[in-house]
């Protein structure tokens, strides 16, 4: 009976959450605290188990990211040179790369605290920046960690993350462009695939 009650109320709450629009700052806050809570309790992730961190990221973080948009931003003017099939492959490979990077960063998490900066959003706005700050355990100036979100179909999705002013997405722009210039779109796809395979091989060895 107790279980049934929990189930029904859980269902009710989750329905409530999806019916009501979640604002960007609340979304980031919820996902951050949920993910870090899990990492704090998980000894495997803390000791560098990337595979487990990837599973966590895929379950909790990915649904809130717009990878097509990210890939498009990273490719900038090269995006239009790719056929839609190539765009799909590029997005898949870039997603793998970013997920690995993000997961790796989670395994390096050592109980730093995250501060959320004041957030405001004008009515009708579809582009938002949520600012947070990581307090470092070794002291020193906190590292800014900013999320850029875009609203599509009444839900907010992250399309860029900046760490200390360095965008994890657009930082690839120049190297992607020079790869395309030298070896074409297929060359870029190949080098992304090679990178992902190599990372996978390293992870498998551990």
């Amino acid at each position: 009976m107790k279980y049934l009650f929990a189930f029904v109320s859980g269902l009710f709450l989750s329905l409530g959450a999806s019916a009501q629009e979640v604002s960007p700052d609340v979304l980031i806050k919820n996902v951050t605290s949920e993910v870090l809570e899990i990492v704090r309790k998980d000894k495997d992730i803390q000791s560098g188990n990337t595979k487990k961190a990837i599973d966590l990221v895929e379950a909790k973080v990915l649904p809130n990211f717009n990878f097509t948009r990210m890939t498009q931003l990273a490719l900038a003017r090269e995006w239009k040179k790719a056929s839609s099939a190539q765009q799909k492959v590029l997005t898949d490979e870039f997603r793998t790369l970013l997920v690995r990077t993000y997961s790796k960063a989670l395994t390096e998490y050592k109980n730093q605290t995250i501060d959320f900066k004041p957030f405001s959003l004008k009515a009708g706005e579809t582009d938002a920046k949520v600012r947070t700050e990581i307090k470092q355990s070794g002291g020193g100036k906190p590292i800014p960690l900013d999320y850029y979100l875009e609203k599509a179909n009444s839900s907010w999705k992250v399309y860029d993350i900046e760490v200390g002013g360095i965008s994890l997405v657009t930082n690839y722009r120049d190297s992607f462009a020079s790869e395309v210039r030298n070896n074409g779109i297929d060359g870029l796809i190949k080098s992304l695939q090679a990178k992902n395979k190599a990372s996978e091989a390293i992870a498998a060895k551990k």
Partner: protein
Amino acid sequence: MTKTLPTRLKSLTLAAFAASMLAGCATSGNPKDPIEGFNRAMFAFNEGLDSAIVKPVATGYDAALPSPVRTGVTNFFGNIADVFIGVNNLLQGKVPEAFSDFGRVAINTTIGLLGVLDVASDAGLEKHEEDFGQTFGRWGVGNGAYVVLPVFGPRTARDTVGLILDLKADPVANMDPVRNRNALIVLRVVNDRANLLPADKVIEEAALDKYSYLRDAYLQRRRNLIHDGNPPREVEADAEQVERPVVAEAEVPADAAPVLVARTESPSVK
């Protein structure tokens, strides 16, 4: 050791120049990086130096010292740096920030036990990050060419000039008993490197080509710092976005200046 340090640096530079000659002029035609062949050679040299000496020492240091001690070391050097951070804020016309920096030094040097405790941050005086390169940038000096310096690593032409002034002004580098000075410099380098250890693995995971990844990260970071964390969002290079109207303000293309000599521009800071 101390007297030969500059000579050593000089010979290292010469060796690296020679290496870059051998490496030829491999460039990918990036206008921000006209001397890529040289830079890649220097980057490889720095990486070698790091993996042979600096990183192992920093790793040992990180493992040996408890986190509060490392925090104390970081704070200690941060307090010394705050003096010229304040000076640079003054030079940039940011008077309230400058007074906050000098206030930080006063509080942390006294109540914070010679800077070991950063009580000023707890009191709400935020730590800033400024240097002469940023001051020049604020004054409108463009990046100039990207250059990888031996030992010091990534800079731009402008930031190289800034670095020379930073070193001239650095209280630690100008300390009188040379032995103490050297010990402090080594401690600072090792501590700074130890603070970067977690980033290593993430960069390894992220970068298709570590050289260009770090180059572009450096350039983005500097741009962000010059604008104190609020740079105008970069216009998406004629990507003709249909989904999202680009509202970013027109960007002064100083960042892309393909010239070796830093050129002057009208101040572009908003």
